[in-house]
Subunit: 611 residues, 2 copies
């Protein structure tokens, strides 16, 4: 037998769902050599996960790909609650906000998973000319334990099989849409069928530095590296259906929860005037569940209102487990992400977000190690950070599931958990990339009371000093693999404060680690936000280490259009006179807070991270 063809690739991603595609997006953005494979013949086109939480929208926007999806999706800012009334039928019994502006500049939006994947697929193609290899399955995975220490080695050996049409046909596939009402997402037209590659039926061996297992709840990768999903929680049987409704029930464009003695159901709005109906299928045989039986069950709960549909788009029946991986990686060379390492119920509409944010956390770290910027030990923080988040997710889901089953009031828990479910309050623990109590270097958190070390850096409206244009500060934190040093310069119209900032410019220039990648791109980006009136500091001289010639990185905490002083410093909890310094990771999480005189500490922080 002839030997199999062999090749080398920095990263192989197994599974092209949201977690896999986000991993590929980071690789494409950072210029890392990557392959992404999926055993299915085609992408997902319809239904499935449909909710993008505010933090996920921020992340998509940081790659410049939020706009289209935000415009096409249904927006969700409100939940309404219904329960059995005195007359026997349901009556409204409450309303809660599903959004408040302090959370994020983005609402939660809902759209089929096919469009979410379309957006990610287009981006990896545009940014890195990366395309998913479909109909390709891994068959063998070996790790060369001798070679783990060498960051330039390829210790993971993966055998890939290019499936034949017959082999592809054996595995369950997403239904392929036909033209007509909402049949095909814009851009999906060319992907309805897998294109033959000529390699069908062949195998090859790939040597990789890193492998990401993003292959779902039944992860092949997870089994290869001997990791188990652990947990006891189990949900009852639920059905979900995406329809254009014909109904007199009024609350179709908000999230509606209906809790009666006969069961529980929920409705969320969707793109194209659709809704998703999710309903407990108590006493129904799983094999009998169809769009019609799901709607019949919903009809029972919805009396005196009637519900039917003029268009059916997708349905599914599920019974979820709540389980967590015993580990998130093998030797920090093979990583698991998304459903491959945590499972839960889809009730709160947050699963896709946590999966995608797993690899958003992992991707830049792996890219930095491959590029020789970071020490490999940074990779350990993937598990410490995301495992804790997954535990919180499962605990929340268990609580929610229990309350649903018991027919309890769920209004409180939704309102209370909004910061968590929106993914905006997720906070990572102390580590080399989170300088807070427990880590080697500890931030002065009190200098920026609302810029919590370990959480993501939130957005505020600021003014560009040079142009006077207002912008959301977060727009200046793109996902480009750079750390950002935010100099809250304070009131630089005062000469003594200006001197402090000028001194920072001198000290900051020297001690920063110089581990630059070969192509010379800088891994640091400095932003200055001062609190003076923009007019008062028009001719202030800032050192060139802090300020580009065109002042394109200098911002004023002013209101737009000469409206006077702004509110960003207050919202960030930073003293207007004295300012502070904040370091932000490439994934937008806060790494460090210190005084303007703390450039030595900042140096130490980065010395821990950098090679």
């Amino acid at each position: 037998m002839a030997p199999l063809p062999e090749s080398k690739t920095d990263v192989v991603i197994i599974g092209a769902g949201p977690a896999g595609l986000m991993a590929a997006l980071w690789m494409a953005k950072c210029g890392i050599d990557v392959r992404i494979i999926d055993k299915r013949a085609t992408k997902v086109f319809k239904g499935q996960a449909d909710s993008l939480q505010p933090r996920t929208m921020e992340i998509l926007d940081s790659f410049g790909i939020a706009d289209k999806i935000y415009k096409r999706a249904a927006h969700l800012v409100e939940s309404r609650f219904w329960a059995s009334g005195k007359s026997g039928g349901i009556e409204p019994c409450g309303v809660a906000s599903d959004y408040y502006p302090e959370l994020s500049r983005f609402h939660q939006v809902l759209i089929n998973q096919g469009q979410i994947e379309r957006t990610l697929l287009d981006a990896i193609k545009d940014l890195g000319n990366v395309e998913v290899e479909r109909g390709v399955a891994p068959t063998e995975l070996q790790i060369d334990e001798q070679n783990l220490q060498d960051p330039q080695a390829y210790p993971v050996q993966l055998t890939l099989r290019h499936l034949t049409e017959e082999e592809i046909a054996e595995s369950p596939a997403a239904p392929v849409p036909t033209p007509g009402a909402f049949g095909i997402n814009p851009g999906d037209e060319k992907e309805l069928e897998r294109k033959p590659t000529g390699k069908e039926g062949t195998e090859e061996v790939v040597h990789a530095k890193y492998v990401f297992g993003c292959d779902g709840a039944r992860s092949w990768t997870r089994k290869q590296i001997g990791i188990k999903l652990v947990g006891e929680g189990k949900d009852s049987l639920w059905g979900a259906v995406d329809i254009v409704p014909v109904t007199d029930f009024p609350d179709l464009r908000v999230r509606s929860f209906v809790t009666t003695s006969q069961g529980t159901m929920g409705i969320v709005p969707r793109e194209n005037g659709m809704i998703r109906v999710g309903v407990e299928l108590d006493g129904i045989d799983r094999s009998q569940a169809s769009p019609e039986t799901i709607i019949e069950q919903a009809q029972k709960l919805l009396t005196p209102y009637t519900i039917n549909f003029s268009h059916y788009d997708w349905h599914a029946v599920y019974q979820s487990n709540q389980r967590l991986g015993s580990s998130f990686s093998k030797s920090e060379r093979v990583f698991l992400a998304g459903d491959a390492v945590h499972t839960h119920s889809p009730k709160a509409g947050i699963g896709l977000n946590f999966s995608l944010q797993d690899t958003y956390n992992l991707g830049w770290k792996v890219a930095h190690v491959i590029k020789g910027i970071s020490k490999p030990s940074i990779l350990k923080t993937y598990e410490t950070e995301r495992r804790e988040v997954a535990q919180q997710l499962i605990a929340f889901d268990e609580d929610l599931t229990a309350r649903f089953s018991a027919g309890e009031d769920i209004k409180e828990i939704f309102a209370k958990e909004l910061p968590f479910t929106s993914c905006t309050s997720i906070e990572y623990g102390p580590s080399m990339v989170v300088a807070k109590t427990g880590a080697n270097i500890v931030s002065k958190q009190e200098l920026a009371q609302h810029i919590i070390v370990g959480r993501r850096f939130a957005s505020q409206q600021v003014i560009e000093q040079a142009s006077g244009c207002p912008l959301q500060f977060q727009e200046r934190f793109p996902s480009d693999g750079k750390y950002r040093i935010v100099v809250f310069a304070g009131d630089i119209s005062r000469p003594d404060q200006l001197k402090r900032v000028q001194k920072l410019g001198q000290t900051l220039a020297l001690p920063l680690p110089k581990n630059q990648p070969e192509n010379g791109e800088n891994v640091f980006d400095v932003l200055v936000l001062h609190s003076s009136r923009r007019e008062d500091v028009r001719f202030c001289r800032l050192p060139s280490t802090l300020c580009s010639q065109s002042q394109s990185n200098v911002y004023a905490d002013n209101l737009p259009y000469s409206g006077g002083l702004g509110t960003a410093y207050q919202a960030y909890g930073v003293d207007r006179l004295n300012g502070c310094i904040v370091a932000v990771r490439p994934d937008g999480h806060v790494l460090f807070v210190g005084e303007l005189e703390d450039s030595d500490k900042l140096h130490k922080v980065f010395s821990e991270i950098m090679l």
Copy 2:
């Protein structure tokens, strides 16, 4: 000699600049059979017109194509003025706003014409699979006067020549960029060279219903139909250069005007950290003008500051005439638009906007006539509306040019004319599509004091009744060829007011003209904006003629996120209790204002327009 191949096309557009591309965009959007030709081998890639005014951004957004360009471009909200000081060098002498929020939700932005055209080219391809035929020139135009009355006839006969490479090489072309710093706009990679069509050197005859001459100041079309440009005004010689500056002059990201006894210059910010420098070339021979001589001249005026460049992108020298076409069309079958029918200086950065808005005015009218919706007489309003605007443009430009030449203070005129230069206050006179004094039907303007009949319908933030989501009302006025009936329903929490609205629903259902195109699409879209608290009218029943089942066309004048009553009614100048009715044209200009009881008048308005 064999006869030339002949074919029929509804519309032929000559010239693929901004005016021609906007015309093609309307045709693509409305599903009209169209060809667009340009004698040049390639599109524009760099430099040239660079300013998109707020109203132009609104128009691009109404086609769903504003986002990318808005993000990539430089934003402009401020002008700063400099003049010779006591020390001999220039000193700052004033500042003026170039934007205020009441004008529009969009700022003015600046980006090279190549990117603007790229955006339009992508849109016509996406919407209607329309592509520009390059290297194609018209050689003969004949109008069959016998056939003008039949709206389904093809009275314009156009002979087209597919140019040979040698013929193309003879005409001046835009410089083709090379890779490198800002060399090639995203998406332009494939258009650097014209692709051979195999038709080079051949001719063909096209029979068209309508021809648009968008072929620039030296318009071939204009000469064929015997129209002359009339006017005396002439500007002095100016040079413009796009550079990445090396300078200590501070005002690079605002619009800067420098007026000294030695001459006048201006700077505007541009994409990619560039600026455009425009300077009067007094005493310089036109043939000697280069990027270096333009910058040398600028350097003289800018003392004590220094200016040079690290990257040069584009330059031009121009001496403009101020001239206006003696007519805008021949028999309303061949139309002229843009520079083909009005020329002026580029000083105020508004020319592209007026050109593009010419065909934005014309396009939907022609589409409606071709589709059998409108009477052909609607086409006369193109000239009455756009000629007056062109006159205003030329008068403004003559005033500006005179003040520049005289070294006068120009701060005042810029601030005063902002509503005009932003293109947001452009107001069309009375006609069958502007129901105001002088027209057959006159609006009750007093019912909506700030919704001026003839001007574009401005945006305000409103709340979607069904979802509670805030949005800009203008987002619900896409350029899709539909008239929009905006029912300002007033306070429908009051039973008597609700009755008035319900009655309107009954009467509005009947008399509206039924001239539907074959495919059954409705040319009317009804939007309801009430002034009640959203919670108070949750279960209000509106007639199905006013309100879709999902309430997706009902809006509340509330503040977002349960913030109470809003300010849209006040901004629109509409009475909160009693409301009114407003009809808006497919191009967003206000057609009619009346009472809720005026559905008969509305009927009459549309009877005048519709076939």
